[in-house]
Amino acid sequence: MAAIPKEKPSRVDESRAEFARYKADVKARGKPFYPYAMFHDTIMSLVVVCTIVGLAVIWKWSAYGPHHSPIHKGLLGPEVDPPANPGTTSFVPRPDWYFYFLFYLLRIFKWPESVFLGTVGVPTIALVLLLMLPFMDRRRARRPSARPVAMVAAVLTIISMGVLTWKGATANEALASEVVQSVPKWIKDEHLPPAAVPGVNLFARAGCTACHTYDGVGGALLGAPDLTEIANRHLGIATQIKHLNDPSSVTPGSPMPSFSSLGQERLRQLAIFLEASKGTH
């Protein structure tokens, strides 16, 4: 029998041939970088610098009055926030906008079973996939119309990043002033004893509801558990105080910050309140 017809060139050979063609084409019919491409690059760079200066100007001139005042935020937020205060009792952790997608991802996964997926798992997998893209998509086709799978994957990625960023930006923050108004309802719903009243007031003011939910109020952030029925876990007052002092000593890897700056007496009040929270039924 005759020999097998000439073998089809391998993908690597085809890629190399295409690149050789590319090099030859550019040499023969290309145009010099300077001045043609450089002209476009220069105009674009000027637009970038003007945009940055414009944002800086809007930031300053749209905020009027004393810039520490949260009332005069301006269009792009206040120029200066209040100074860091580790002993503060109310805060809402909020990263810069390009971390909002991660920030919101953490609300989707629940503590403690799957929060690890939100903090490390999903971001790591996404990064590895991004790095490995050229090795997963090794076809030579470059036209978008010839790469339907890649295009659909890209559109889905953009949509999900956009939705996560948007949800992170508009996530409702449990403001201490609003949370405090729920205290009477909590005392009634949960049948809290008088001993737990100092604790419930502290709970509403200390920023706990920035992450935790309680009787339908709060942020559900970073996978923080609902505390409505926390007493039914029978952790005991000593464990609760230990946890508030150093959360990761009780729950390894907990992202919750230490609240020891409140003072041991207040932590005891919080612990009594938590151990009295037996649910709303």
Partner: protein, 288 residues
């Protein structure tokens, strides 16, 4: 041409020759010892495909944003004080006060700080747009895989700049976002607790954390970014810029992909094609 030298050069010609010598001498000196002039000439006058479009300026736009960050960052570093200690006169943190001083008292300090603050966002956005363009063009494919990886690393480093720089004003938002951010790093297996401890410089966020973030933000990460950008640009110059994949005149287009002009009624400008030859053959060896 030799005949022109028979004539005695005029004074104007002589002066011109002298001027050329004065200008060229240092360049020749530099070229002979480094080859840099030839390198710059190659960079400027190398050919790029004739059909590149505006989307392909996003990479240099991101570079411009990075340079704005570098320049404004150097100026800010001259006035910023990375200390979490309390100023005894006012009872406020020194770092926070130095930011207020830059914003309120320094000539154009608000502009430099504002450009640095918002330039960071512009830099991140431009890197994402540039990445989107590269994806759309399929420009990460052979032989540019390595440059895609370098680009992703620059993006990650840029976001780390955002994370470390966010803490430096030492204000409430920054402080508590960093508390949670570091605790989240701590949830990673094996390395997590060690990394969190390293970033904090102890059990709690303190002045040690601030100086660490300052050092990372100003020295370590920018150094890495500059190195990666140099590698990124080297690979761009070495491998060339891709044509838009939908271009009818795309460089490297396969000959059989090119239809004949009468099959493409919509095309107003057919590829010039001498009889019996493909345009690719203008350069010998351009095709196998």
């Amino acid at each position: 041409m030799a005949t022109t030298y028979r004539r005695k050069p005029t004074k104007a010609e002589l002066r011109r020759q002298q001027m050329e010598q004065v200008v060229m001498y240092p360049l020749d000196w530099l070229e002979e010892r480094s080859g840099l002039v030839g390198g710059v000439r190659y960079f400027l006058f190398r050919n790029v495909p004739s059909d590149i479009n505006w989307m392909q300026t996003l990479g240099s736009a991101a570079l411009t944003a990075f340079l704005v960050q570098a320049i404004t960052g150097v100026i800010l570093a001259m006035y910023y004080v990375p200390s979490a200690a309390t100023d005894p006169a006012t009872g406020r943190p020194v770092a926070w006060e130095s930011i207020v001083n830059i914003t309120d008292n320094l000539t154009l300090g608000w502009l430099v700080r504002g450009m640095h603050r918002w330039g960071a966002s512009v830099f991140i956005i431009l890197m994402f747009l540039h990445m989107g363009r590269v994806f759309l063009f399929g420009a990460y494919k052979y032989p540019r895989e390595l440059n895609w990886i370098v680009g992703v690393l620059i993006l990650v480093m840029g976001m780390m700049e955002g994370f470390t720089g966010y803490l430096l004003p030492w204000d409430q938002t920054a402080y508590w976002a960093t508390v949670v951010g570091i605790n989240l790093n701590g949830t990673a297996p094996f390395l997590g607790p060690w990394l969190a401890q390293f970033l904090r410089g102890g059990q709690e966020i303190s002045g040690a954390t601030l100086t660490r973030f300052y050092s990372l933000h100003m020295l370590v990460i920018p150094g890495a970014i500059i190195g990666l950008i140099v590698l990124h640009l080297y690979l761009v110059i070495r491998l060339g810029v891709t044509s838009p994949p939908w271009s009818k005149e795309a460089a490297g287009l396969e000959p059989e992909e090119e239809e004949s002009p009468q099959l493409r009624p919509g095309l107003t400008r057919p590829v010039p094609r001498p009889a019996g030859a493909s345009p690719m053959q203008a350069e010998p060896g351009g095709r196998e």
